[in-house]
Each structure stands twice: as C-alpha cells, then as structure tokens.
Symmetry: C2
Subunit: 374 residues, 2 copies
Amino acid sequence: MTIDAAKFTDLDMPQRVLLGPGPSMVDPRVLRAMAAPMVGHLDPNFVKLMDQIQELLRYLFQTENDLTLPISGTGTAAMETCVANSVEPGDRVLVCINGYFGLRLAEMAKRYGADVATISRPWGEVFNAEDVRAALEKRAAQVVMIVHGETSSGAMQPLAEIAQVVHEYDGLLLVDTVASLGGVPFSVDDLGIDICYTGSQKCLSSPPGIGPVTFGPRAVEKLNNRATPVANWYLDLTLLRDYWGAPRKYHHTTPISANYALYESLRLVAEEGLETRWARHRRMAEMLWDGLEAIDMTMHVPLENRLASLTTVRIPDGLDELAIRKRLLVDYNIEIAGGLGELGGKVWRVGLMGYSARAENVLLLLAALEKLLG
Amino acid sequence: MTIDAAKFTDLDMPQRVLLGPGPSMVDPRVLRAMAAPMVGHLDPNFVKLMDQIQELLRYLFQTENDLTLPISGTGTAAMETCVANSVEPGDRVLVCINGYFGLRLAEMAKRYGADVATISRPWGEVFNAEDVRAALEKRAAQVVMIVHGETSSGAMQPLAEIAQVVHEYDGLLLVDTVASLGGVPFSVDDLGIDICYTGSQKCLSSPPGIGPVTFGPRAVEKLNNRATPVANWYLDLTLLRDYWGAPRKYHHTTPISANYALYESLRLVAEEGLETRWARHRRMAEMLWDGLEAIDMTMHVPLENRLASLTTVRIPDGLDELAIRKRLLVDYNIEIAGGLGELGGKVWRVGLMGYSARAENVLLLLAALEKLLG
C-alpha cells in the first residue's frame, strides 16, 4: 500500500479573526512557546515547569486547592475528569440544564452510573438558589452540576447562593467554567465551589488540547473514600495527582508542547492581572453590545446575566444567517458561530475571549456586519 | 489572591538529544507547523486537513479501515479508546502480559467491566501462537490484547500467526503499536489486526498529545451492535466517527495545533516512504547494538525478537546507573531511560525513534557511554 506524498501540500492555514465560541486567537508569544525544544516528561526542567503551571492555575482558579492540574485533553476531557472522579455508581446527581453543556453533563453522569435528576431553564436564562433548594428538598444529591458560562446560550450563572444551598444539603458543587474562566470575575474559593474545570482555547487563548481542573478539600475527601475505582483510567485523579505531585509516578506522557503553550498563556494572565483582564473583557463586550444595538440587533440574554466572553445576538427575521456567516469568513476572514440546539438558527454566537478580545476585532466585526446587513 | 508575575521567567528549555522511550526529538518542520495560525475546528480549511490526516494515517497503519482517526489525547488515551470501545461489561478478555503496557491493558479492561484472563512471559520474551491457542482453548475470549513493541522490555511481538488463532476462536485482536508504528515493518491489514493504536511522540516524532487509532470491519460490527453505550464519553467512537466523518457533528474541539504537527509528521513519513523509514530505524539500531557490544554490553532481548525502535541494554553489575544517566543528561544533554517494573535497575532503555534515529545521535551516545563507563 503506497501513497503519493506530493499531493499533501505545505500546511497553509488562513489568518482568521476568531470571534466564535472558541478556539480564540492565540497570542504570538504562545505560538512561539510551542516551538521550544521537546524535552522528556521526566526532565528536571519540565518537572519544574509542571510545578509552575500548577501555581499559575491556582491563581487562575483563585484557589488554594492542592489538587489543581491540567488534564491531557480538551475541556471536554476536563469535564469528564470532574464527573468521573466525583461520581460513583448509584450516586444521586442533580444537573441544572439551561444549555448544551448542561445536557452533556447529565449524559456523562449517567455513563458513570449516576442516578440523575435534572432541573431546566430555557437557554439564555439562569437558575436561582431557590430552584436548586426546591430540587434538593425533593431529593438530596451527592453532586450538583451547573455551568457558569454557557457557550451555547451566552448566559452567566450566579453561583454564591447556590453553593451555600448545595452545602446545606451536604452536596458537592461541580461548575463548568470552560467559556468564562479568565474572562469574567470568578473565584473558586470565595464562591465555595468544590469541583471546577475549564479549557485552554477560550479566555486563556492557548490552543485546545489541555484542560485545567481543581478539586477542593470536600471533593478530595469523597475521592479518597471511594468504594469503587474511578471508571476512567486516563482521567483517574488518584493516579494523576501522583504524576503531577511529589511521587512523580509515571502515568502517561503529558503533551509537552501544549504545556509550554499553557504556561505562556497563564503567564500572560498573571502579567495582565486577573482584575485588569476581567475589565478588558467587559469593556470589549460592552463595545460589542452597544455597536450591535446601534444597528438594531437584540441580545438574547438580559444584561444582568449576560456573559462578557460570549454573546448571543438574535438573528433578524428572514435573514439567511448562513450566507452572512459565510461572507464574514470568505470576505473578511472573520469567524463567528451559529446557534446550537434549541437556539439553532435563532442566534449568532460572538466570542470575545482572551487574545481575541481586542478593540480592533470588535470594530472590524461591527463594520463588516453593518456592510453585510445594511 | 494575587501572584508575582515576575517570578515566572521566559520558557527556557534545553536542546536535549532525546534517546529514551519517548518523546523523541521533533523535526523542526513539525515544530514550525505548530506555529501556523489557529483556525476554528469547523473551518473549511481545517475540515480538509482532517480528511488528509485520516488518509495519511491509513497509510501509516497500512489499512483500508474507514474508522481511522486521531484521538485528542496521548497514546494512553488511544489505548483506552480501543479498550472502551471493544469491551462491554462481562466480556471475556485475554491479555498477553510481557511488560508494563500489557499490565496496563489488563487494568483498563477490568475498569470497563471485562472478565479478564491473562497469560504471562518474562519481560523481554514474546508469545507464540500456541500460547494463545492454549489459553483460548481453555476459555474463549471476545477480545485478545497484546503489545507489538513493548517500550518497557524492548521486545517485538510476532503477530501473523496469533491473529489467525484469535480469529479461529472468533475473537478480535487488539494490538498496541505505540512504540513501534512507523519505525518497524507493520501492516494492520496484512497481519489481520482488528484494533490498533499508537502515539504521536515515538516513531512519528510529533509532540505527545494525539493518539491515532484504527478499527477494522469486525471491530466496527461489534461496536455497532453494543448492548450498552461506551462507558467513556470523550473517547466514544460512535460519536467521534460522526465528528471526523461526513456528519461533522460537534463532539469536542480537537487540538488544532497538535493536528498541524501530526499532519506534518505524517507528511514526513509519506515523503520518506515507510519501507525506507523502517530500514533507517533498523540501520540505526544495528549501529547502536554493534557499538554497545563493542564496549562489552549485552542486549536484554535476543536478536530475533529485538525491537529496533527501543533497545533494552543490561546494566553492568555494580554500576551506579542513575549517576551515569545523570551525567549523560548534565554533561551531554543526552536523555536515556532506566528500566520499568521488573526491569527497574537492570536495563537502560535507549530509543531511536523517528527524528531521533540519526547516525550522529547514535555515535554521540556511544562516545559518551565509552567516556563515562571506560
């Protein structure tokens, strides 16, 4: 069996302005970091880098949690890590569903043998603490799962009161921050969140492929007292903590270059400072919202629950939305996304995340939309 | 919670000569490929690249299998993909263990609910078809798992006759080629292998983080007729084939830059041609073996079953092996590895894989060892 090597041409990727739900644009410093020489996963220089990455991740999550590390997979793998390590077969789990990623959490929890109950809100709305209290009053749950920034809906979920309620009922709160962490105000420890995960390719502006997670003391206690082994070997935190921690016990070979990229992107977060970074995301989002309203477009999520890093804007009636997105891509190299699930065809999703969240990008998108819609 | 950004210095990784069990050195063309601009995972340019990667992977595996794609994780994730998608709870599985990765396969199969039987050989030896026949005669198995190139022992497992026996007993043959594929003669279709996986960071010389897998027609039939969903959502091939295949249904965001690297490394394989590449690995290995024997060292594995891409060489009695490895690293930037498991302290493991398999590296290692041992 042979192959014609000549037909596989040089990689030739266009320079896109990435304003969809992720991946976001990657800072040139991060791209450069990936070109650093490959070293072994047990190399003393790399082991030192692992420690630094963990320290920077604790700052990103705003936590003192010892068990804080990047999973060698995408945000979805980080999600599955949190589910697989917090759930045992037969556990009662409550999943709050107001978008695509809530549905996914429920599906994953079922695959790990959880007895899943759900509460739902239309995509774009958020839950209040009383919704959760009522559900737990009916049936307590060992783990409550909820999404902080729903990439599918553009809603940002308040969490402080919900965390209190979950703890009153002696549960663990598991929170998805894939689309929000590093872009909007958030603190694992201040909010009292037990389990949290994110991805690399959203507000961190690193390439996809590495997914940070953190487990707090109560979650670690449950992990330490499991009756069954974690059903997923690759994502088993009882093994991964000995690889990332002092025993440095071989488990798998972490993606070295992706860790270089993650380190550089976390360093950019530390240099900018989280508060400044949150403010920048907010400023860019407001510039976008004002601009869209100025051309008579309507945001799908009310201002008080609107996610700065990902905006859902309603598509005007009768518009061929796919044709417009195609022209944005072909004429101006701008990527935005259509709606998912029950918002399919109804909204566009515009991400202003990390290195993409710059005034020139907002201005360009607004100008292009004005031209194409006007 | 604040952080002192200044203490996180520029990434500064040494230029190592990587002659351990992986990662191997990365071709500069592959490092450059990763710096290509980020695009979205649904970008038409990226979708075209996905098709090309699959075509190149079929050449690498030497297979016509439609279900051939890279998993968004390391070789261990590819291993778990093959186990999770081929095993249902209660399935009888036979695992052939003659090294560390056989042990891992058995552990993973158990986590997916398999009823696991094992046969064993000392690390460094291989199985013959009669070993497998005797085990299947005693108890048939739906899946038989075996390692082609054991990174822990340096043995290369003959497979043609074993594949025949497994099929006589109506089982599926699952083969680990993490340390061998692209480095030594191998053909999924000619050998009659049903399920096969590899990693990116060994004979492909791409960074770790992406793990190719292939499922043949009989394995796909079992997958299509499962009574239970695949227990692992992230690695569920019934979902992944709709993401990599025509429906292009969103599942997760594949690591874009890692795919760039994989494409470039597969293109290097196609340009060199598999037969030339196999011959190069063999030539470099023989140069190493001759050189080691010339300084009175003994290979652990007999010539007929010796893996070209990874050599285990016995450590002379009374030598402080760790001190020597440290000096190799500190004085000459050369990385080799110690033994794993039952070969810990007994052998060194020297990898000549992909871009590392060059005459200058072999000569340098031999010269350095001569100096340090002489």
